[in-house]
């Protein structure tokens, strides 16, 4: 059992942060560039242990792995950073996907032109839902968002104009970017787009975390009443959190629509919301690296072990329970460490 206790106490998050802080700017640049480069090369590494024997490895990298990471990062802004329990995150994913499907099949707009529209619509939906819902606290917010997720799905199901239960087919793939073509048999290009979206999201979250907005979210998460009394316009920052999370969900949805070529309401059930939330909790709420690792594992593992078919979900669930038992705060939990105190030298 020694191994397990090591696993329990291992604080990779703080070790990593320490290592990063002690690295020189050049060293940091080298590390960051190699990490991004390595990630970009992932589609070529589908051999040996990394391969997914039953599913197409290249496709798995895009969906679920890449998209789960992206969505988990988005939901983490809401749940992890601001402490707002959102159980209807799938709604924004659906709005993005449907925007892509409707505009892609009815207009001559291409995926890249539809992307900002899908993001804006998802954001708008987040804003409209948030305006009344974010006045509620805790469990009430969870219930309202859960309801919203279902309403979006059921509305799609009952709206003939957008295919009802039959959904929408023949959604166009994105136009090629220079020599890079989007092809379902070889999904490298999709993966690189997801990767860029993930990088942009990481940039955004890291930026905001050390700015006024990040502090406001952190304050709201820890004690909303005190935040308000210290001058934080809590409703405004909760709305921002919600809308940004929605925007990322919407962006993922647009790309998803343009990749599956066919969408239907049954793809956007509560299960998706729960699974993305599981990624956040499993990886480590509030910490982007944890959330990404969590999402990568939860997305990849079921595909990796698909060959055991029936026992697959059971093994998956068991792994989840065992991990959460030993690391209740997730694999890489939020900051616990403190910087070394540097005493001021008075002159």
């Amino acid at each position: 059992m020694k191994f397990l206790s090591v696993f329990k106490d291992l604080n990779l998050r703080d070790k990593g942060a320490e290592f990063w802080e002690n690295s020189s700017p050049t060293k940091r640049k080298v590390i960051a560039t190699s990490l991004v480069g390595l990630a970009a090369l992932l589609p070529f590494m589908g051999v040996g242990i990394l391969d997914t024997p039953v599913s197409d490895y290249g496709a798995v990298l895009v969906y679920p792995v890449g998209m789960f990471i992206l969505m988990a990062l988005g939901l983490n802004i809401v749940v992890g950073k601001s402490g707002l329990l959102d159980l209807g995150y799938v709604a924004f994913f659906a709005i993005g996907a449907y925007t892509m499907a409707i505009l892609g099949t009815h207009t001559s707009l291409n995926t890249w032109e539809i992307m900002p529209i899908g993001i804006a619509l998802a954001m708008l939906a987040g804003f409209i839902l948030g305006l009344p819902a974010l006045r509620l606290r805790g469990d009430y917010l969870a219930i309202v968002t859960l309801g919203f997720g279902e309403i979006v799905r059921i509305s799609a199901l009952n709206t003939k104009a957008i295919g009802g239960p039959n959904g929408i087919a023949n959604i166009p793939v994105p136009p090629s970017i220079g020599p890079i073509k989007f092809n379902l048999n070889d999904q490298k290009a999709y993966f690189w787009v997801v990767l860029i979206m993930i990088l942009l999201t990481i940039w955004m979250i890291r930026r905001l975390s050390v700015r006024r907005a990040g502090r406001a979210w952190e304050a709201i998460r820890q004690d909303e009443d005190v935040a308000e009394l210290m001058g934080v316009n809590t409703l405004r920052y909760k709305l921002w959190s919600f809308s940004l999370g929605a925007a990322i969900g919407g962006a993922a949805g647009v790309l998803y629509g343009s990749k599956t070529l066919f969408i239907a309401p049954e793809m956007f059930t509560l299960n998706v919301s729960i699974l993305i939330l599981a990624c956040v909790v499993f990886g480590g709420m509030g910490n982007i690296w944890g959330v990404m690792v969590g999402a990568a594992i939860l997305a990849y593992l079921p595909e990796r072990i698909r060959f055991i078919s029936d026992a697959r979900l059971f093994v998956f669930g068991l792994a989840l329970v065992i991990t959460m038992n030993f690391r209740p705060d997730g694999i890489l939990p939020r900051k616990k460490r403190e910087k070394v105190i540097v005493k001021k030298v008075s002159n």
Partner: protein, 258 residues
């Protein structure tokens, strides 16, 4: 006499059957230290809660610079110049001491989320200014050496002081301290008294809830006494100290027994 900064006018608040404040009138003048005392449950913290907008009064009103605070949002009350600490420490435990104070300074910033995201010049300037200001305040309160420590890991006394620092971060005109010396030993109380004086001398007005009589006598310009939600005295410390009703309130003797 100097200008009135904050005025409570005939303030009454009821919680179900409990009348926590009953027709309280109180004026706080610019630049003074006003101590608010009274037995437990007298309604002192409730005064803070009504002034900061946590509760709406059942009747009566609160005036800041002569303007009613009725219906003003809580964060705007803070922005208008009223800050407070909490009887039970309520810091942002997962933030560093410095971040706690910067969060206070954020209230007057003009740049919002987008400015911060895209690193616009004004946002960058304000961010740096807030950081510098927060360090200054921590220095002023005497706890700058703890600036990079997580608030929840700080020693108790430092946490109490950090609450004051965070409130000062909002650049208040009036700072309201709710039992800031609770749990302090005599030496720490002396230190705190010095700090409170220093705060007043720096131009802030202080409303102080405190139980320790010697601390109050040492630093307050005026003392107001609450008992069962009513103001029973409001005068110079030496006068209040010898007031029969005040002594009875503290000893728990009904006033008609004398």
């Amino acid at each position: 006499m100097s200008k009135v900064l904050l005025e409570l006018k005939d303030l009454t608040i009821k919680f179900g059957g409990v009348t926590a404040l009953n027709g309280v009138n109180l004026k706080i003048h610019e630049g003074e230290i006003l101590a608010l005392i009274g037995p437990n449950g007298a309604g002192k913290t409730t005064v803070f809660n009504v002034v900061t907008g946590v509760y709406q009064p059942t009747s009566g009103e609160v005036l800041l610079h002569g303007k009613s605070l009725k219906g003003v949002k809580r964060f705007n009350i803070t922005k208008m110049g009223i800050a407070r600490t909490f009887q039970n420490i309520r810091l942002f435990g997962d933030m560093t001491a410095l971040e706690n104070v910067i969060t206070g300074t954020d209230v007057h910033k003009k740049s919002g989320l987008l400015g911060g995201l895209f690193g616009l010049p004004r946002a960058r300037r304000e961010e740096q200014a807030g950081r510098d200001k927060a360090h200054q305040i921590l220095e002023f309160i005497g706890i700058d050496e703890y600036s990079d420590r997580l608030a929840r890991n700080l020693p108790y006394g430092v946490q109490r002081r950090l609450e004051i620092a965070r409130a000062l971060g909002t650049e208040p005109k009036l700072i309201m301290l709710d039992e800031p010396a609770a749990g302090f030993n005599p030496a720490e109380k002396v230190e705190l008294a010095k700090t409170i004086k220093k705060i007043r001398d720096a131009g802030y007005t202080v409303l102080l809830i405190e139980h320790d009589m010697s601390l109050i006598m040492g630093i307050s310009d005026r003392v107001a006494v609450l008992d069962f939600g009513q103001k029973i005295a409001d005068d110079l410390p030496t006068v209040v100290q010898n007031d029969q009703r005040v002594i009875e309130a503290y000893l728990g003797v009904p006033s008609d027994a004398s």
